[in-house]
């Protein structure tokens, strides 16, 4: 059922206005691999993830994302990606399950309930997200990123705001889907870096 994806990041640079954020980032990843991006605060980790997800454009360089050798254009990339980041805010005026239904592309109610149970949000599923704590919001972001079982999972500081039980759930979920997914984590946490086979320091450009 799962397709094989591959991702080539070739010499990506990003400027904000006139300021250079990073330059010549190159790496690639295949399904089954997990990859980390580290770097000091403000070095552009989150921006890098957004560029991969296709919601921002790089100043230079190219990203080739293909499934079974067929290239997927940037506009369609979002259907293959799961993305969780503190910058992604679900709608405050919707409940958790409404937010998930909005984000997911055609999954049934059982799958949604299962994920809500897993991340411990089931009792709160019909509360408006505006009333959630930061930790609960983070759990919701992770559910939204993983609900469609995406080919590529991009996680930006996934364990931020999470308590220890939340982290345990996250890490065991990552273990479960590792074989079928490309996982890219932007983080400075040792626990998360340990999850990944290889990685890059965006400031030093060392792999």
């Amino acid at each position: 059922m799962h397709k094989n994806y591959s991702l080539y990041i070739n010499k990506i640079s990003k400027r904000f206005g006139k300021q250079l954020l990073f330059r010549d980032i190159t790496f690639n990843a295949e399904t089954g691999e997990s990859f980390f991006i580290t770097g000091p605060n403000g070095s552009g980790k989150s921006t890098m993830l957004q560029i991969i997800a296709g919601v921002q454009k790089s100043t230079e360089g190219e990203i080739i994302f293909s499934s079974e050798k067929k290239e997927i254009p940037a506009e369609e990339r979002f259907t293959h990606f799961g993305f969780a980041s503190p910058a992604v805010n679900p709608y405050d005026m919707l409940t958790a399950s409404e937010n998930i239904r909005f984000a997911a592309s055609g999954v049934n109610g059982d799958r949604i309930d299962e994920m809500l149970h897993l991340f411990g949000l089931y009792p709160h599923r019909s509360k408006h997200v505006g009333l959630y704590s930061s930790g609960m919001k983070q759990r919701l972001r992770l559910i939204i990123a993983m609900i469609d079982s995406p080919g590529i999972l991009l996680l930006d500081e996934p364990s931020s705001y999470l308590d220890s039980s939340g982290k345990d759930i996250l890490f065991s979920e990552i273990e479960k889907i590792r074989e079928e997914t490309i996982i890219i984590i932007a983080t400075n946490e040792h626990e998360e870096i340990k999850l990944c086979g290889k990685g890059i320091d965006i400031a030093e450009q060392t792999i």
């Binding site: 921002q56 454009k57 990606f81 992604v88 679900p90 709608y91 005026m93 919707l94 984000a103």
Partner: protein, 220 residues
């Protein structure tokens, strides 16, 4: 992709309906402007020309007060990234356009009868009057949707919205004012061509917006 459009629309209507304050304020603004105009005129007898100018000024500013909200909300609540990650630009544009057309149709449907009631005027060509109000408000909604998307990304949104909307809106206002004045006055029946003009204008604006929206929404 059809269902994507439906999901976006459902989300917008749910959010706006639960947080009614923004919509209520738009309606209140439209109603109060109409009332205050009729209060200020105090039963003075005005020519059809002036009636239609007043009516369209009210409609224009009601649109200015309410129609950029649907995009600005995404920026203010910082949800635009969430939206961009789960929908393509075309469906975002279409859902916001449909929302704005419906909202503005409701606003016009509130303003126009109120105006006629308080100012004690009755159009001679009623069908033309209704058609003009509908076609004019369609044109206003289609212009403000794309311009609202631009303004949402800029600073000092409220006043900028009026500044950038006005020059593009002038043709619509002129034609609508003329048609409304004709249908209030009687005499020679209003021109069908001018009505078609309004529809053609909306059509051109909507298709160009549909093609160019992604340049506003995603970074180039």
């Amino acid at each position: 992709m059809q269902s994507r459009l439906f999901k976006n629309l459902r989300k917008d209507f749910l959010i706006e309906f639960r947080n009614r304050s923004a919509m209520n304020i738009s309606f209140a603004f439209a109603g109060i402007t109409t009332l205050s105009v009729s209060l200020a005129c105090g039963g003075a007898s005005l020519t059809p020309q002036i009636h239609s100018v007043l009516l369209w000024i009210i409609i224009f500013f009601s649109g200015m007060s309410g129609l950029s909200h649907i995009f600005i909300r995404e920026e203010e609540e910082r949800t635009s990234l969430f939206l961009a990650l789960h929908s393509d630009a075309e469906n975002i544009y279409l859902s916001k356009l449909i929302f704005n057309i419906i909202l503005f149709a409701c606003i016009t449907a509130l303003v126009t009868p109120l105006y006629l009631f308080f100012m004690q005027v009755m159009p001679v060509y009623r069908l033309y009057f209704i058609l003009t109000a509908s076609a004019g408000s369609l044109a206003v909604a289609s212009i403000t949707t794309i311009l609202g998307a631009m303004v949402a990304k800029a600073e000092s949104r409220g006043s900028l919205f009026t500044v950038i909307s006005f020059p593009v809106m002038i043709p619509v206002l002129w034609i609508s004012i003329q048609l409304t004045s004709d249908s209030l006055e009687g005499g020679s029946p209003p021109e069908l061509r001018s009505l078609l003009f309004l529809l053609a204008f909306s059509g051109v604006i909507i298709s160009v917006s549909y093609l160019t929206f992604k340049f506003i929404w995603t970074e180039q």
